[in-house]
């Protein structure tokens, strides 16, 4: 049946998408937990700036994000040039460019989910833990994280799902290289550009919808279970 007749290239795009989304969600999570905690619990000078900066990718056109990443991490960008000259590392138009673009685009979503989850944890419980001899780290890992876990987990899934759909920043910063940077949305776009590629586009779109749907439904199910348990 033509509908399930995936070519190697298509399977590569699906595999790459899952790979990029998984790495992106795993890498983003600890950073987002740290930033979310800072924004939820600490008062410091320039907090509004950090908050705005973190949220910025949410409203910027993804192509703009890709462009900025290219300016910074491209072979002629100030970080990219440094990495190339001193460590012979190239980021732009590689697999890692697709990961970086996805991280930047999805980061605000994860931070927002985690920040809200931490804000919901009663700060008085953290004070109680401190008076019982728990230092800040023990308090964080034994009280804050377990109580905010449903929100943290939601953030993780949101990040994964957003990465699956990432297009603009990836095509600008990572390109559309088959087997290296061509993720699902890019493969769908390419198929639509080629005459007769409608079936490929349809197949991949279906996969994209199913993957995203499974992530969101799975997250909602687990979240409900966790909330019920706690």
């Amino acid at each position: 049946m033509e509908l399930f007749d995936f070519t190697y290239k298509e399977l590569q795009a699906i595999g790459l998408s899952i790979q990029v989304a998984t790495i992106c969600a795993v890498v983003s999570l600890p950073i987002a937990v740290g930033v979310g905690w800072l924004l939820a619990r600490k008062s410091f000078r320039g907090k509004w700036f950090l908050d705005g900066f973190v949220q910025l990718p949410l409203v910027l056109p993804p192509v703009t994000i890709g462009y900025v990443l290219l300016v910074v991490f491209g072979v002629r960008g100030f970080i990219g040039k440094f990495l190339m000259e001193h460590f012979d590392i190239r980021i732009s138009f590689t697999f890692w460019a697709a990961v970086l673009a996805s991280i930047i685009v999805s980061f605000p979503l994860v931070v927002r989910a985690i920040k809200v989850a931490i804000e919901m944890v009663d700060i008085e419980l953290e004070s109680a833990a401190r008076t019982l001899g728990a230092g800040p780290w023990k308090t964080f890992f034994t009280i804050t994280v377990p109580l905010a876990f449903p929100g943290i987990f939601s953030g993780f899934i949101l990040s994964f799902a957003r990465c699956l759909g990432e297009f603009g920043a990836t095509i600008t910063f990572a390109g559309n290289i088959i087997g290296q940077t061509q993720t699902l949305p890019l493969a769908i776009y390419s198929a639509m550009e080629v005459p007769g590629g409608e079936m490929i586009a349809f197949r991949l779109a279906m996969v994209s919808i199913i993957l995203s749907f499974m992530a969101m439904v799975g997250s909602e199910y687990l979240n409900r279970k966790l909330v019920k348990k706690s």
């Binding site: 008085e124 004070s127 401190r130 008076t131 001899g133």
Partner: protein, 367 residues
């Protein structure tokens, strides 16, 4: 060795807490109106709020000194804090809550659970236990963190009177057993009198008096504060026996015998060797001699220790081996020629005595 020595200033918009105090007694009750700064005081001790100036010593260890820039974090102060609303961790069960601050080398949790009568609920979730049980778990949890001092911030405010008195009756042996100094905040004077050796009055961000209840009555500012919630006599007595024929519960203090109504203590008085009775000063009548042919059951002889005259009334502090406050009018004082050192008889009805009524507490709520 002092339990606590605090001398600090904490300024917040619209509120200043300026405290100088030294506490040496085992159990100190902190009394004062809402918003006076009682909780902020405990927060400063526990390191949950930082004063602008001054110093705090707990068991002679300096935990805060603004000029030395010393400010130990809460976890290093060794203060067991029991919060008003318990603050049990909802994701942990009762046993895990109890053991949260437990030091590895100690294995007291079973003993504490038994003393607080929470052994049966140890594997329950926090959401499955009642308010009274939650508060006892919170007390146990604080005790098991091996604190140098235990502080209780309105621990009984969410509980009804019977439950409150039950927890107080459980707390008393714990205090003795663990020999940990304790500060307890309550807006209920009778609760504090049952528990504490000394009172500290906080009013408008300042310490308005410190000392025994009967000493504080003689201090104007402290007296005004305590009067607002109603003065009360709190007397610890030995239970002798029940006189079923007369319907009386016979109590005593040294040679002095007192009768209360036997129904007051429900069915549980046989368990008790000591009870605390409460008597309002206005329920005590004074006489110069013993009066025969009168319905009042209790007539005890004592000596007037102190006379405190306020705007329109006189409070007599009478020594009967225990202290008793009686309230009379100025006219009575003049008519009876009351003076300090004079002998006097205190008369009060058995029905005027209030007591811990453990028998009235719903057993399912307790266990």
């Amino acid at each position: 060795m002092s339990v606590l020595k605090a001398n600090f200033l904490l300024s917040r918009p619209g509120f200043t807490l300026d405290i100088q105090c030294e506490i040496e007694t085992q159990v100190t009750g902190i009394f004062g109106p809402s918003g006076a700064g009682k909780t902020s005081f405990l927060h400063v001790l526990a390191g949950l709020e930082t004063p602008d100036h001054g110093s705090v010593f707990i068991q002679d260890h300096e935990v805060f000194n603004a000029s030395k820039k010393l400010n130990l974090p809460p976890e290093k102060r060794k203060i067991g804090y029991v919060f008003q609303e318990g603050r049990l961790f909802p994701h942990l069960n009762v046993a895990q809550n109890l053991k949260y601050g437990l030091k590895q080398h100690l294995n007291l949790s079973k003993e504490v659970a038994d003393l607080l009568k929470i052994s049966d609920i140890i594997s329950k979730k926090v959401s499955q236990i009642s308010g009274g049980q939650a508060q006892r778990v919170a007390i146990g949890r604080a005790l098991l963190s091996s604190p140098d001092i235990l502080v209780l911030d309105e621990p009984f405010s969410a509980l009804d009177k019977n439950l409150r008195q039950h927890i107080i009756s459980l707390l008393k042996p714990l205090i003795k057993k663990f020999n940990i100094p304790m500060l307890v905040i309550s807006h209920d004077l009778s609760d504090l009198l049952m528990l504490s050796d000394q009172l500290m009055i906080i009013h408008d961000g300042k310490c308005a008096g410190q000392g025994s209840y009967y000493d504080l009555i003689g201090q104007k500012e402290a007296f005004v504060e305590m009067s607002k919630s109603g003065l009360i006599n709190s007397i610890e007595l030995k239970v002798d026996y029940i006189d079923k024929e007369k319907g009386l519960l016979m109590l005593s203090h040294d040679d002095c015998q007192i009768c209360a109504e036997s129904r007051l203590n429900g069915n549980s008085f046989f368990d008790e060797k000591q009870v605390t009775i409460f008597l309002r000063p206005e329920d005590v009548t004074l006489a110069l001699h013993r009066i025969e042919d009168i319905s009042i059951q209790n007539q005890i002889e004592g000596k007037i220790e102190k006379l405190i005259t306020t705007d329109n009334k006189v409070l007599c502090v009478i020594d009967h081996g225990f202290k008793l406050i009686a309230e009379v009018t100025l006219a009575t004082k003049q008519k009876m020629k009351l003076e300090e050192g004079a002998k006097i008889w205190s008369l009060f009805k058995a029905a005027a005595i209030k007591m811990n009524s453990r028998g009235a507490v719903n057993s399912s709520e307790l266990y």
